[in-house]
């Protein structure tokens, strides 16, 4: 039986991880992702690319909803702000790629502070609906943005390029996105083990109690919104260069719900859970699309029925996970780990 809690000073307590296997497996995962484009076909690489971009946004939502406990249904709005800012400064002003992605993040962060202000007074479902209102208003502004956002016609984004070198979507851009994911995962882990992260957790558990312990609620709630929106804005910028065409329809409320369901499937509040949940839902979506693509062909190509059945299964996945696995995949993983380390004891 592996014994625990032999930590002797604060540095050990705050270390990123004390487990060698975690480091080894994480490095292996990154290495595997790095060689993936050399081995897989174009289609699979673009699926992984989409998964990685989504992961950045979901990590951001996790900081707000999972760690700080503020429910947001407005992240489709932040994603739209990030994507459109990146698209506009790249397309109309000719900014280089990294600068425009960063600009997307910053503008979303500013939007995050603005949306965060009501959160100082609102709680729970009232807050959720307020953030939803923000997303609806953003979509309206984009739709009526005239030449700036292209309105309902959409906006085209230039090809991704780095230091004047054009990048192909499957190879070059893939590595840029992979770097972003690794960097943002590290930033998240480091936020969580700092004073800021502990303040976030205290707010999640009980914000008035946190205030009594000396956590500045105004500052940390706004910070949670800002950081979370920044992540999502960066994801928006990455998405803009991935799809290279932005349309307001692709930033519907469903995106926010999808992101929340990724968190729930993975396990709220855990970084690894957020990544796992993202992978699960994106791959579920893709494999459902694949299966129904084949069945649809034999049915005489009724594509819309397949799309709707996909919706049903997707909704069922959310409902069933909440019903039978409320701690998500990470909860199940913890149970398995406990079982192995404590056997033959039950806990």
């Amino acid at each position: 039986m592996r014994s625990r809690n032999f930590k002797q000073d604060y540095r050990q307590l705050l270390a990123l991880t004390d487990s060698v296997p975690v480091i080894v497996w994480s490095c292996l995962l990154v290495a595997l992702l790095a060689v993936a484009p050399l081995l897989l076909s174009k289609y699979y690489v673009s699926v992984i690319l989409l998964l990685l971009i989504t992961a950045v946004g979901v990590l951001g939502l996790n900081l707000l909803t999972g760690t700080t406990g503020l429910i947001s249904l407005g992240h489709s709005g932040f994603l739209a702000v990030g994507a459109y800012t990146a698209g506009i400064v790249a397309g109309k002003l000719g900014w280089p790629m990294l600068a425009s992605i960063f600009a997307g993040g910053v503008s979303a962060a500013i939007a995050g502070i603005i949306v965060g202000i009501p959160s100082l007074r609102l709680k729970g479902l009232y807050l959720a609906i307020t953030t939803m209102a923000f997303a609806v208003i953003i979509n309206h502004l984009i739709l009526n943005g005239g030449d700036l956002t292209g309105g309902s016609e959409g906006l085209t984004v230039p090809q991704p390029s780095l230091f004047g070198q054009a990048l192909g979507a499957e190879r070059g851009y893939y590595y840029v996105v992979l770097c972003f994911v690794v960097v943002f995962t590290f930033i998240t882990l480091n936020i969580l083990r700092s004073r800021i992260g502990r303040a976030f957790l205290a707010i999640r558990e009980h914000d008035i109690a946190a205030k009594a312990m000396g956590v500045n609620l105004v500052r940390y709630k706004l910070m949670a919104f800002m950081v979370s929106a920044f992540y999502t804005g960066i994801a928006g910028g990455l998405l803009a260069y991935y799809t290279r065409y932005l349309n307001v329809d692709s930033f519907s409320l469903l995106i926010s719900i999808e992101a929340l369901s990724m968190l729930i499937v993975g396990g709220l509040g855990s970084v690894a859970g957020a990544l796992l949940g993202t992978a699960f839902i994106v791959l579920l979506n893709e494999s459902l699309g694949f299966v129904f693509g084949m069945i649809g062909a034999s049915f005489g190509g009724s594509g819309s029925a397949a799309y709707e059945i996909k919706g049903v299964i997707y909704g069922l996945a959310i409902v069933l996970f909440l019903r039978f696995e409320p701690d998500g995949l990470m909860g199940r993983w913890r149970d398995i780990k406990h079982y192995w380390t404590h056997w033959p004891f039950r806990f």
């Binding site: 209102a133 923000f134 739709l143 009526n144 409320l253 719900i257 409902v319 019903r323």
Partner: protein, 290 residues
């Protein structure tokens, strides 16, 4: 002035539908503390059921409404028993996500069964426009006014005088104390869902008769959120008033500010209201102890 009155009156007519949906939200929230995000989808499903009933049995308006409400109450009970009750003891957020999941499912199920084309819901009502002052209203919209008055009166009497209604108010007030007084809280929850589904049915039939049934109807549920937030999530009558207010504001802003404002006017309004009163106009402030 005529233009203004016309906007206000047709706004009220639209707002009544928001009111019915909003009352459904409030009914569930009051009792269980959960916002049913599937309310709009439930409304859509029910109005498609009304469409099938009307097509099969050649019902008139009132028999169709009665049959649809009955069917909807059953569906509401079914949802409560199958999906919501097992979530007791889980965080509210999880239950809310279950209703969101349900919403996604219902949206697809409706298209799978009835197809994606809009269809008229024919209830044999006269369709010529009735003039009221400067504004013209469809007879169905007048029915909506009457129905709203009847429902409000009925609900008020129910909550004020009937044993079950008082038990529901007690449960909404302090759940534990209600439980100790021998009230079957589970049954109250189920009843709240059933009543909420019944209100959704009225809204669904009205929208179907006034406009048509189409797979985009659930967005009306989304746009009823401002109504119920404005009134306060736990105030059923506030939701009705909120709905009417939102309907008017939407129409006025569309008429005076610009096209498309209808879509967001309600949301802008609640952002402002919530900044001033975080629990809506008629909601009950939460006093928290640590």
């Amino acid at each position: 002035m005529d233009y203004f009155l016309q906007l206000v009156i047709s706004g009220i007519a639209v707002g009544l539908v928001y009111g019915f949906i909003g009352m459904g939200f409030a009914m569930i929230y009051r009792a269980t503390g959960v916002v049913n995000f599937a309310q709009g989808e439930l409304m859509m499903l029910v109005s498609y059921i009304a469409f099938t009933l009307a097509g099969t049995f050649q019902f008139g308006f009132w028999p169709m409404l009665a049959a649809t409400v009955a069917a909807s109450v059953l569906i509401g009970l079914l949802i409560e028993v199958l999906l919501i009750r097992p979530m007791l003891g889980q965080p509210v957020f999880s239950t809310v996500m279950v209703t969101i999941g349900l919403a996604v499912i219902l949206r697809s199920v409706v298209v799978l069964i009835w197809g994606a084309d809009p269809m008229p819901l024919n209830a044999g009502l006269p369709t010529e426009v009735i003039k009221i002052g400067p504004a013209g209203l469809y007879p169905a919209q007048l029915y909506a006014v009457g129905l709203m008055a009847a429902v409000l009166l009925g609900l008020w009497t129910f909550f004020r005088y009937s044993r079950v209604g008082i038990a529901m108010r007690a449960t909404a007030n302090v759940q534990t104390a209600a439980l100790l007084m021998g009230i079957n809280v589970k049954r109250i929850f189920a009843l709240s869902w059933a009543m909420s589904a019944g209100l959704a049915a009225i809204a669904g039939v009205l929208i179907g008769v006034i406009y048509d049934v189409n797979p985009g109807m659930w967005t009306t549920g989304l746009r009823s959120f401002p109504a119920v937030i404005l009134g306060g999530l736990d105030s059923v009558f506030g939701a009705a008033l909120g709905g009417i207010l939102i309907g008017m504001v939407e129409n006025l802003s569309e008429g005076y500010i610009g096209r498309g404002m209808k879509e967001i006017a309600g949301f802008v309004l609640i952002l402002v209201v919530l900044m001033v009163r975080p629990y809506g106009l008629f909601g009950k402030p939460d006093i928290e102890r640590v």
